[in-house]
Structure formats: structure tokens, C-alpha cells
């Protein structure tokens, strides 16, 4: 299933991006190559010899609306400056200006090094105040966006993993002490009655149950940093029981389902920061939702595990042929 979802995400993003781009192209949304009428005024006066002249840019909202065929309206005036160069006169909007669409999108393509929206000024004969500004042609915005997003998040993925190294090392080290000193074994005996029914494949005295217990404790107290290493350690213990190398067992799916449902009594820190004191009124609904979600997760895992296809792929039912014995 993950194969299909994964491929589906990639293929559909390409299809949708292309669709949006073709629509924009057909509708000439960005008016590539045509000048947008602007009115310029020079608060410090116009000096033809200066390379850089400060300017106030006004765009008539009626003209803007009919030019780009949009409902959005520009602000009353934008600060900016003129830049004289050999290629002609450049008009630059000050960085950080709140631009209406589609000018904002154009600004992402037609931009100077300092992230200012820039365009070529045409029909400008100083000191006349009206002129037109032509921006860099904007094409395939969405296709460009999905490519950039893919590259950015590939980097993010590696960064997240690298960022985990320290925390993983800390808690895996602590867990090794817990194993060597018998804490895990003691924990197993403690949680066996509760966890055994959920993980019937795990032998009664196996340390996996202790790791699962630690993972769940950390989750319940909202300690994501600790929960992840404990969960990974629990997965490793479950993997030791797995006859297959790359196929999940029922216990692994159960552990995963419980973790995605994420039963936590303490709301996430981020939510606390976002909602402020509002969070107090939300504790009860969050708790209700997460408990019911957990129940659905457990029931769904159990029921789906009984489907014929998933039974057939269960490594415990159909262990893979031992290495070296080719069918």
C-alpha cells in the first residue's frame, strides 16, 4: 500500500503542477512581456545622472485589476528605486513589500539579489510620471515549486535524521544500562498483563515488552524526544523475533499503530505555544479524541491483520525461505 501511496503522491503532484501551469499559460495569467502601467513620483527629485533614484510607485487598482484580471488590489504606494544601467532602467520594489497576486508570484521569479521585485522600465521619459514595467517572464511556477520542494525536503530529511543522533545516543546508552541492570526485565513482568494481549507473538519474558512500555510511558507524558529512541529500541527487539528481514510482523504494525495514534496526556508543547491559555479548554476534547483514536487504531490493526492478503504476508505464518535455499 505504501508503494501506491508514495508513487501516487509523486505522480499526482506532477499532474496537478502541470495542470495548473498549463492553465496559467493558456490564460496568460502573468502577462509575460507586456508592461504593467505604473505612476512614479520622486520624493527626492529626479537626478538623471544618479545611478540609483528613490521612487514611490503607485499602481492604479482598476488598471491592475483589468491588466491581470484579478480581484486583488495593490497597496496605495510602494517604496522602491530606479536603477540606471547600460541595459536600460530597472524599477525595483523595496524588499518585503506586501504585493497582491499575481505580482507576488512574479516577484519570486523576477527578483533581484536582495529579493526585491524588479522589472524593466519602458516608455519612461523623465520627468514624466507614467511608465510601464515589464517583468521577467514567469513560466511553469508549479513545476518549479515541486522540484524545489523535493530538493529542500530531501535535505530536511537528512537534517532531521542527523539531528536525532545525539538524542538517540543518549537514550540508547541509558537503555543499555537498563538492560544490563535488569530494569527492563523487571518492567516486562510489570506490564506483561496489559501488553501481552496486544502483542501475542512476543514471548512472555522478552525485553521487547519492556521497551514498548518505556516507549508508551514517554508518549503518554508528551516526551517525544525520549519516546522515539525507546520506540526504535522496541522495534529492534521485535525485529530480533522477526523471521523475515524486511517485512513487518503483526506486533510491529501494532506498535506503529499505537504510536501514530499517540496517546498523550500532556498536549504538545508547540500547541501550547500556539494556543496560549485556550489550551485549557481543549485538554478534554484532545484526550477524548486521542483515546478513541487509539481504540480505532488497535481494532483496525487487529481486523486488517485478519484479511487474507495480510495473513499471507505475515512472516510468522509464512516464514521466508532461509538464505541460500533458492526456490
Amino acid at each position: 500500500m505504501l508503494n501506491y501511496i508514495w508513487a501516487g503522491l509523486i505522480v499526482s503532484s506532477f499532474v496537478f503542477a502541470l495542470g495548473y501551469d498549463v492553465r496559467d499559460f493558456a490564460g496568460d495569467r502573468y502577462r509575460n512581456g507586456r508592461p504593467l502601467p505604473v505612476t512614479l513620483s520622486f520624493p527626492d527629485g529626479y537626478d538623471p545622472a544618479a545611478r540609483r533614484v528613490p521612487v514611490e510607485i503607485r499602481i492604479d487598482s482598476g488598471q491592475y485589476g483589468s491588466f491581470y484580471r484579478t480581484e486583488q488590489a495593490p497597496a496605495a504606494a510602494y517604496p522602491g528605486y530606479l536603477l540606471q544601467s547600460e541595459q536600460g532602467t530597472q524599477l525595483r520594489f523595496a524588499a518585503g513589500a506586501k504585493l497582491p497576486e499575481p505580482l507576488a508570484t512574479i516577484g519570486k521569479v523576477s527578483r533581484s539579489r536582495d529579493e526585491e521585485l524588479q522589472g524593466r522600465l519602458v516608455g519612461f521619459t523623465p520627468p514624466a510620471a507614467t511608465a510601464g514595467v515589464v517583468f521577467e517572464p514567469v513560466r511553469f511556477v508549479k513545476l518549479n515549486a515541486i522540484a524545489t520542494a523535493a530538493l529542500d525536503f530531501a535535505k530536511t530529511g537528512a537534517e532531521i535524521a542527523i539531528g536525532l543522533i545525539g538524542v538517540l545516543a543518549l537514550f540508547l546508552g541509558i537503555l543499555k544500562i537498563a538492560e544490563d541492570s535488569g530494569i527492563v526485565f523487571a518492567l516486562v513482568k510489570l506490564v506483561r498483563p496489559i501488553l501481552r494481549p496486544l502483542f501475542p507473538e512476543v514471548p512472555a519474558d522478552h525485553p521487547a515488552l519492556g521497551m514498548i512500555a518505556l516507549n508508551l510511558t514517554a508518549t503518554v507524558f508528551g516526551l517525544g524526544n525520549a519516546a522515539t529512541p525507546f520506540g526504535i529500541k522496541a522495534m529492534e527487539e521485535l525485529q530480533k523475533l522477526n523471521p523475515s528481514e524486511d517485512t513487518a510482523t503483526n506486533s510491529m504494525v501494532m506498535l506503529l499503530a499505537i504510536n501514530t495514534a499517540s496517546l498523550q496526556l500532556v498536549p504538545p508543547v508547540l500547541l501550547l505555544a500556539l494556543m496560549g491559555t485556550q489550551i485549557n479548554t481543549l485538554i478534554f476534547p484532545i484526550l477524548t479524541t486521542t483515546v478513541l483514536g487509539l481504540i480505532v487504531a488497535i481494532v483496525a490493526t487487529r481486523l486488517l491483520g485478519r484479511l487474507r492478503g495480510y495473513r499471507a504476508s505475515d512472516p510468522h505464518r509464512n516464514p521466508p525461505a532461509p538464505a541460500g535455499v533458492e526456490a
Partner: protein, 180 residues
């Protein structure tokens, strides 16, 4: 309810220190060479993190592409009439979809909605409950299964998504019941 909450939030401050101090202390009592044990276990941290990378990159880049493509808006429009039938506000559909895909993405959506509707609005409350009541399914799959090299995930994805869908609908209903 309030005292129970206080007890839990106070306890949550103690869990990590107790683990970090208590485990080695108990190890000493049991005459375990604690420093050696710790280093032995910690060695694994690097390998685990590196093992996760391919899985995380695979999941994150596909989801990022999907979000950047504008497919979400199209999906929202397509599903709008269906959602009306179960009393699910269309404004929350992006949140419901993103929640299983991306943790940072859904947090950003909560921020957007606070800016748009204000903290007191029922929509923001629903979104916050959605955010607070489940984990990012695909991230958990990538990290947990990636760490042990599991590629064939069997029913993990459908089970996780079913639970997520249920949680999203329950979130809307409970908030509506309490504040609606």
C-alpha cells in the same frame, strides 16, 4: 480534572530526570559497569540515525512535492460535497489530510487558521484538537520501520490512516459538542 492535569504535567517534568539519573543509579547498585554500558549502547545512535535517512527522505520529499503542487486545493474542492454529509467543515479538510503527512505542515496550518479566524473560533479549536490528538503517521512509519530496515509495511499504513481519519472526525464532533 484540573488537579489530575496538574499532577500529570508535574510528573512529566520528572520522567526524563528519573530515567537519566535513576537507571544508572540502579545500575551501580546492581554492580553494572554503567559508563561502559552507556557507551556501548550509545554507539548505536549514529547507525540508527543514518539508517533512517533513506526512509525519511523518501517520505518527506514525496509529501513536500504533493503539498507544493496545489493538489491539496483541488482535492479540497472535489471532496467538499461529500464532507457536508458527515458535518465536516470544508475549511478543515487541508488540516485533516496534512495531519497524517507532515507535522511541520499541520503546525503551519494551525498558525494560518489562528491568523485567519482567531483563537476563539470553533474551526481553530477543531484544528488544534486534530493537531494535538494524533501523530504524523508517515513520519512515524519512516522512522520506526526505517530504523530496523522494514520496507514491506503490510497493514501499517491502512491501519494508521483509518485511525487518523477516525480521529479527525471525532475531533470535529467533540469540539462541536462542547463549544458548538
Amino acid at each position: 480534572m484540573d488537579t489530575a492535569r496538574n499532577v500529570i504535567s508535574v510528573l512529566s517534568f520528572f520522567v526524563v530526570p528519573i530515567i537519566l539519573v535513576g537507571f544508572p543509579l540502579y545500575g551501580l547498585y546492581k554492580r553494572v559497569p554503567v559508563y561502559e554500558s552507556f557507551v556501548e549502547g550509545a554507539k548505536e545512535g549514529f547507525q540508527v540515525a543514518v539508517r533512517i535517512i533513506p526512509y525519511l527522505v523518501a517520505i518527506l520529499f514525496a509529501i513536500a512535492m504533493f503539498r507544493a503542487s496545489g493538489a491539496m486545493e483541488a482535492l479540497t474542492r472535489a471532496l467538499d460535497p461529500v464532507l457536508g454529509l458527515i458535518g465536516f467543515p470544508a475549511e478543515l479538510l487541508p488540516m485533516a489530510i496534512i495531519r497524517s503527512l507532515s507535522g511541520s505542515g499541520s503546525a503551519a496550518l494551525v498558525v494560518d487558521m489562528i491568523n485567519q479566524y482567531g483563537e476563539d473560533s470553533i474551526l481553530v479549536k477543531m484544528a488544534a484538537v486534530m493537531y494535538g490528538s494524533s501523530e504524523t503517521t508517515f513520519y512515524v512509519i519512516a522512522v520506526y520501520f526505517g530504523a530496523v530496515g522494514i520496507r514491506k509495511t503490510r497493514h501499517a499504513v491502512p491501519a494508521g490512516l483509518l485511525a487518523d481519519a477516525a480521529a479527525m472526525i471525532i475531533a470535529v464532533w467533540t469540539v462541536r459538542l462542547l463549544f458548538g
